[in-house]
Symmetry: C2
Subunit: 343 residues, 2 copies
């Protein structure tokens, strides 16, 4: 049925139907207290009758500002980031903002697409957990006048605000815990090292081994991604190798990898966790506790990260003149479960 789409009613149409001027309709929408109650009534009725929906494009064009924030995360399928997103959304709602979400899936190209989209939409600001090249992305955004806050990654305060978790400390805590369990052949599973988070966790881990003064060693097993699948592949490779070459403990760069490792160890092969190999992850996602072997992990306050980032962004938007860039670093927390400590 080739029905010509009828155009959407405009404020003009509403005004005509209600028998008032266009300015009055606008006031009903934005400053109802300036309008006589029965006029409000008439206009409301007309709006209802026509199914009028305010055109945000026009509104924004005129007003210049937008009550929308953009959030770009690395991997929405990772519960860490969905918690972060949830925290961001809630904080935004408090400030009367809405959040629209873009998922970069670790791909620079997708990240760029979302950032451009948000910029063209003139969002009030962007919260981003960047794939890489933080400073370029951020400074170029800033140079064009877009407010940005970096989350889950540290940047220099000359550039902008950032909210992160001390990943070096987290890496250190994880490995110190493994060493305390008497483990000596430690493997760090994760990658690519372009991810600052991964590099930092590795740095902390390496440092912990060095500082311990023990004979313990650490080696890095690289992965292409931080996913369950990548973890499983590494796990299968390890399980398939001679037992003498096995590490006796693995620090996985995140819980997804750790879960993949556990899958490989418990099914395809018969690797005992933690007796043969202890495993500790990072993020403490909700599923860690319910993993096949309850997973020890380094807990990050994901929702808090998201909420704080939004708060700082809103502060920057609201008080451009008094705003000071800040770097907030949260401390992670060790959560010990069965995967590193036999009960």
């Amino acid at each position: 049925m080739p029905t010509a789409k009828k155009p959407r009613p405009s404020i003009q149409d509403v005004a005509r139907l209600a028998g008032v001027s266009l300015g009055t309709v606008s006031n009903v929408l934005n400053n109802p207290d300036r309008v006589k109650p029965d006029t409000v009534g008439k206009v409301a009725k007309a709006i209802d009758q026509l199914g009028f929906v305010r055109n945000d494009a026009a509104r924004q064009l005129k007003a210049g500002r937008s009550k929308t924030l953009g959030l770009v995360v690395l991997d929405i399928a990772n519960p860490f980031f969905s918690s972060l997103a949830r925290g961001a959304e809630d904080a935004a709602a408090d400030g009367n903002y809405s959040v629209i979400l873009g998922n970069s899936s670790d791909e620079v190209e997708r990240e760029t697409r979302y950032v451009s989209l948000f910029e063209e939409q003139r969002v009030g600001g962007i919260v981003i957990s960047p794939v890489d090249g933080v400073s370029e992305t951020v400074t170029s955004l800033r140079s064009r006048g877009t407010n940005v806050v970096v989350v889950d990654r540290h940047i220099d305060s000359s550039i902008g605000c950032s909210i992160s978790v001390d990943d070096v400390a987290g890496g250190r805590m994880a490995v110190e815990h493994l060493l305390a369990q008497g483990k000596t052949k430690i493997a760090f599973v994760g990658g690519p090292l372009d991810f600052q988070q991964v590099a930092d966790r590795l740095a902390g881990a390496t440092d912990a081994v060095k500082v311990s003064g023990s004979k313990a060693t650490i080696k890095h097993i690289k992965t292409k991604a931080l996913s369950v699948l990548a973890g499983r592949q590494v796990g299968e490779a390890i399980a398939g190798s001679p037992k003498s070459q096995w590490p006796d403990a693995i620090f996985a760069a995140n819980d997804l990898l750790a879960v993949g490792l556990l899958q490989a160890f418990m099914f395809g092969a018969q690797v005992s966790v933690p007796a043969d190999i202890a495993v500790i992850g990072y993020d403490d996602i909700a599923f860690a506790e319910a993993a096949i072997v309850p997973l020890s992990s380094i807990r990050q306050p994901a929702a808090l990260l998201g909420a704080t980032a939004v708060e700082m962004l809103v502060d920057e938007i609201s008080n451009p003149s008094t705003h000071k860039h800040r770097q907030i670093t949260f401390q992670p927390e060790l959560v010990v479960r069965g995967s590193t400590q036999a009960s």
Copy 2:
């Protein structure tokens, strides 16, 4: 530092700097082949120099259309929906659309906020997994001229397109499997029943018991949410009750609940799965396989649902005159693991 924010450069500014007219700049942006190559060069240089970013509000206002789609999901923290979102994003990218994501968290109010936001932004269309009252939401959107596709829920084809999975069949499969394992005291854990998905799964489950002609029974244990936490609470309540009252099998309305049940059974209490109580979930999220007891589940093609929904939406947008509403129903699939079948 009270720096007055410099206004963003407009097409006018670019035109001035490049020494051409505003129309030419617009052409460089939209129809570069209509412009002489060296003019394109001059304009590109000016754009670069000024850091010009096209104002999408103005563009949309004039053009009337938008290359953005809205997606509203029930719970982005649920891996089922993050897969769905990913599928939707990928399909959209193929059609040169972008997806912005809203998370309703099962709350009507949040859903309404996102739907209004998207409508005001004049997105090309909306894909929604509705909290409830499907038809009202959808028909009212449609009546105002917004294209909508419903996902993970069935609607009448007089209203619009929908992509769903046969939840009744899924519920039936789950319970038939439990019965085949010799289980007779079955509990269905899930709620609220306002969620059509939950109601359908329960209906299928009940039907399977009835049809079997066996002496098996099924009772419904209601939950307020479909989360890990809600599952754990139910699990603790069951484990804390006299063993004689335990069900011998539980069909959980989704995997999150099932994971929570497993947590409660394995830690707080000593319930053996599947010997004492078998557990089967729904969705087959990535973590099901790595759960403390590998979780049997009913698999849904989440990414495919999202992708198909977007494709139908894009079809409706692109071919308003020839488009026919369709209801697509995918069949779910039983995945058997250790939580229902001792190895």
